[in-house]
Symmetry: C2
């Protein structure tokens, strides 16, 4: 949709679909800095140029606001502001993932975030009534996932295979997962106590819950 360095004329708000924001290092290394879902805002920058590139992951519907207008309108800036707060928190979580989590924890976190009624990390108890498995359309290639999680595509593939081996997930084609044991997956994210103490309560991955629900 736009590239890092282009004149930043517009701010976009996503209605449908998913968009990925990424930055490149001069030697070609790529880091996906955000994956935007419905409601999300992108094109935000403090300079006259975009600080990262935006690419669609699927067909999308967006609302484009002229940057100047967005900063004028009170209503608009209020709405965008609320959204930005959510993304701010989501990014904090992602920084923790990149800085401190193992490959296994990163992929587990990624899968948990893709769960439809997802992100609500104060685990709403055991799975949802019964042990239903949950179907997840991934919608990103291994390469994109790797660049999002700060890994290589080989490592992502290996971890998914490990989940498969443990019976936590089942693959259905390359971009569909079926999660059999959501609780186990949740535990592997590293974001929750696994030791005896029960109902400890507070989760650090707080805001993720609101990122796409707003």
């Amino acid at each position: 949709m736009f590239r890092e360095g282009e004149t930043a004329g517009r701010i976009y708000q996503l209605v449908h679909g998913r968009v990925m924001l990424y930055k490149l290092l001069p030697d070609g290394r790529r880091q996906v800095v955000e994956v935007i879902g419905p409601g999300g805002v992108f094109g935000i920058t403090c300079l006259p140029i975009y600080d990262c590139s935006a690419e669609t992951l699927v067909a999308v519907e967006v609302i484009a606001h002229e940057r100047a207008a967005a900063e004028q309108s009170v209503d608009l800036s209020r709405e965008l502001g609320a959204q930005v707060q959510a993304q701010f928190c989501a990014m904090h979580d992602h920084v923790v993932l990149l800085g401190r989590k193992s490959a296994l924890e990163r992929v587990a976190s990624f899968v948990m975030h893709a769960v439809p009624g997802r992100g609500v990390f104060n685990c709403p108890g055991p799975p949802r009534d019964g042990g239903d498995s949950i179907d997840i359309p991934i919608g990103m290639t291994r390469h994109e996932i790797a660049d999002y999680l700060g890994l290589t595509l080989e490592t992502v593939s290996r971890v998914l295979s490990e989940f498969r081996r443990r019976g936590i997930v089942v693959t259905e084609g390359h971009d569909h997962l079926r999660v059999n044991d959501i609780c186990q997956m949740c535990r592997l994210t590293g974001a929750h106590e696994t030791t005896g103490t029960r109902s400890q309560g507070r989760s650090s991955e707080t805001c993720a819950a609101l990122t796409e629900s707003a």
Copy 2:
């Protein structure tokens, strides 16, 4: 100043000093998600509770805004909004650092960001007139730096020793660095072409320049 999980009643704006925002995983791993300088805003969250803890690095002076008030006032939300944009970009840069840079590049980036007239990564030519060395007060322990850069304190220490060995920096006590070859340091950040092609121009670490200057 406040802890992750506490009721988020206020938004703070820093006047003097430096504040560090961090999150903890249940097993004790810590990740510093932002280091806020003068002008910076913190306490932003999309939930009724803070999503991370805030701790001062030095004595600070802050302006505290009631959260409700900040969202009402047009002027205030406009000012904070501008600041948030800058921090948004800075965080994008930091995500790239955490996801894709080597230990050496991370520490080099950290040092460059600490340079007074810093962050301006479109290298304003060679050093500043002559080869003056630049003095940098670090103001963080190795442990804090490590938790910011997603490394261990030993690795940070080793990299700084390596810089010393190469003659790029000189240590003056534990929290003062003298950078002799700022250009070399800049090159080691990984954010710039090192191959022949001259004045390529565009840097990806764009917004860092404005983070603290605003």
